[in-house]
């Protein structure tokens, strides 16, 4: 899930309009940018789509960390293609957010000065090559869990973006699993890398679904608006149930001794992540928050002359064309 803890905005609109709006959603109609919508719906979506877009952008950094060290030309090409896809997802999501009346530059400024968040997972480091496999397998896997239902979300542009994003993400997940499988079946050192990656990224991946339902106070309105389709705990359980057999297939040790099949529930039991760590990361105290945000700020600051230069050229060109006419 690339958008966590998105607070639903209260809304103070005309009750009749609100009821008609809710009825459209309940009938499964898509809301389009020019349609009337409650201010809270608009603001919540801007926050959620913006956070999702920022996650794609910041997510380039931990993966980009390994492009120059990828062990084969094919792995390098696959990783480059994946990171390019992520940047592309960022682009469609910013476009979807723009239809709600906020510009990409405004959203970027809010990311850079910390007013907007990105997924907590990208504040963890990628320390060995197996992390790249694990990011595809676990992180993209967790993201897909959330994004597949969002293909049916009520806001048209977001739903359409998710349809495209999900196709690519499924591909990334398969590639990630293939990369880590190669290592799990490889030399003892490679297997150690795979195990290390799984152990480190397991709980942060579970945290991607957000706090437990009993502590998640903002869900109800978003669920009624079909901006959020499932609860955090439902999705987390689904992820655990899907992933445990995959870990066993790889021949790796389970990263949590609490994982056990529960016959009665028909699900795996698991240990909850350390939520104090989650809230620390959200507050900016994860292992990489400072570096990730600094990297994005530097890219923006160091690139100002490029953006200004290209804009100045476009204006000169337009003026020359105008003068010639």
């Amino acid at each position: 899930m690339y958008a966590q803890m998105v607070k639903s905005e209260a809304t103070q609109d005309d009750p009749e309009k609100l009821a008609a709006f809710q009825a459209r959603i309940d009938r499964g109609e898509k809301i389009e940018p020019k349609d009337w919508m409650p201010e809270g719906y608009r603001k919540t979506l801007i926050r959620q789509i913006g956070q999702h877009a920022h996650s794609e952008i910041v997510g380039q950094l931990p993966e980009g960390n390994w492009i120059t060290r990828a062990p084969t030309l094919e792995r390098k090409a696959i990783l480059l293609a994946k990171v390019q896809d992520e940047a592309g997802h960022g682009l469609y999501l910013y476009c979807a957010a723009e239809t709600l009346g906020v510009s990409r530059d405004e959203l970027t400024e809010m990311l850079l000065d910390g007013r907007m968040k990105y997924s907590s997972i990208f504040n963890y480091p990628t320390l060995n090559w197996a992390d790249i496999g694990a990011v595809g397998w676990l992180v993209d896997g967790a993201a897909i869990m959330n994004q597949v239902p969002l293909q049916r979300t009520s806001f048209g542009p977001y739903s359409r973006a998710m349809i495209r994003v999900c196709k690519e993400e499924s591909f990334h997940q398969r590639q990630g699993y293939d990369a880590i499988r190669k290592m799990a079946e490889g030399t003892p050192e490679q297997k150690k890398m795979a195990q290390d990656a799984l152990n480190r990224l397991w709980f942060p991946s579970l945290m991607m679904f957000g706090p437990s339902d009993k502590d998640s106070v903002h869900s109800e309105q978003s669920m009624a608006w079909k901006i959020k389709m499932n609860t955090n705990d439902e999705l987390r359980q689904k992820f655990v149930d899907q992933t445990v057999p995959q870990i066993e297939f790889l021949g790796l040790e389970l990263p949590d001794p609490g994982i056990k099949w529960n016959e009665e529930r028909g699900h795996y039991d698991y240990t909850d992540p350390d939520w104090s760590e989650f809230f620390d990361v959200i507050k900016g105290n994860g292992p990489c928050n400072t570096d990730r945000l600094a990297a994005r700020n530097n890219a923006w600051k160091d690139g100002a002359w490029v953006r200004d230069g290209l804009l100045a050229h476009a204006q000169k060109k337009a003026a020359r064309k105008h003068a010639a006419e």
């Binding site: 090409a77 480059l80 890219a299 953006r307 230069g309 290209l310």
Partner: protein
């Protein structure tokens, strides 16, 4: 030098250029001035790495010693590399990266145009595929050089500095040696010196539109394509690129 030895050297020159430049361009990932540029840089790097797989794959085949493209990329030392010095110099700012790209793309597109009619069908086939990608690389890098050269005072200054810094690395693209003589004789590749006029015409037009001044110096650094003397930068690049293969020999990834 037999014909196959010369051909293998020629193929290493092509593949090492794309490998090293692809590596440099990929260093930008996540740090570009604007999202579209991040995507374009990753796309360019991806094309170059794909071309590397083809050139080095064929080089290994021609060498006939059972080496794969990966063996050649990850298990050779600095003195074995045959890339132009131009592609191994550090990225510098975005302007220098795009200026380097433009100078390389101009040469590369002309070179590939000739290679498409190579007497060696394998070379012609790789060139035909690569030339489509490189036509786009050149369009984009030239547009960006023009936009930034003819942009603000600051962007103009930075682009002129980039051109001044990189120009001494241009001459090496047009130097010929016995490998090239053998390739010309076999009808496999053109004489590098023969590409200069087309290159100068193209670059003069682009730099003219960019309002930049081509330095008035014919001096050219050399040693990359012969392997006699690389810059200090290449060794550092290889330590990063080759690290996993060197640290865990024989592992399959």
């Amino acid at each position: 030098m037999t014909r196959d030895e010369a051909l293998a050297q020629f193929l290493l020159r092509m593949g090492d250029n794309t490998l090293i430049l692809g590596h440099r361009v990929s260093e930008w990932c996540g740090h570009a001035p604007v999202l579209e540029e991040d995507i374009a840089l990753a796309n360019t790097a991806l094309d170059l790495i794909g071309q590397t797989q083809m050139w080095l794959g064929l080089a290994g085949e021609v060498q006939g010693m059972g080496k794969s493209a990966d063996d050649l990329a990850f298990l050779r030392d600095v003195w074995d590399f045959r890339n132009l010095l131009l592609v191994e110099v550090p990225n510098g700012d975005f302007g220098r990266t795009l200026m380097r790209q433009c100078l390389f793309d101009a040469w590369h597109s002309i070179q590939l145009g000739h290679l498409m009619t190579s007497s060696d069908e394998r070379v012609a086939a790789i060139a035909a595929k690569a030339s489509k990608e490189v036509a786009y690389h050149l369009e984009r890098s030239a547009d960006t050089v023009v936009g930034l050269g003819d942009g603000t005072e600051e962007s103009h200054r930075r682009m002129q500095e980039a051109l001044d810094y990189l120009w001494p690395y241009v001459g090496e693209m047009f130097q010929s040696d016995e490998v090239d003589a053998e390739m010309v004789k076999a009808g496999i590749a053109p004489d590098p010196a023969s590409l200069r006029a087309d290159f100068d015409a193209l670059i003069t037009r682009i730099m003219g539109e960019a309002t930049l001044t081509i330095p008035d110096s014919a001096f050219g650094h050399k040693g990359g394509r012969t392997g006699k003397m690389h810059t200090e930068h290449l060794g550092h690049l290889l330590t990063q690129m080759q690290w996993l293969q060197r640290a865990y020999p024989g592992a399959k990834w």
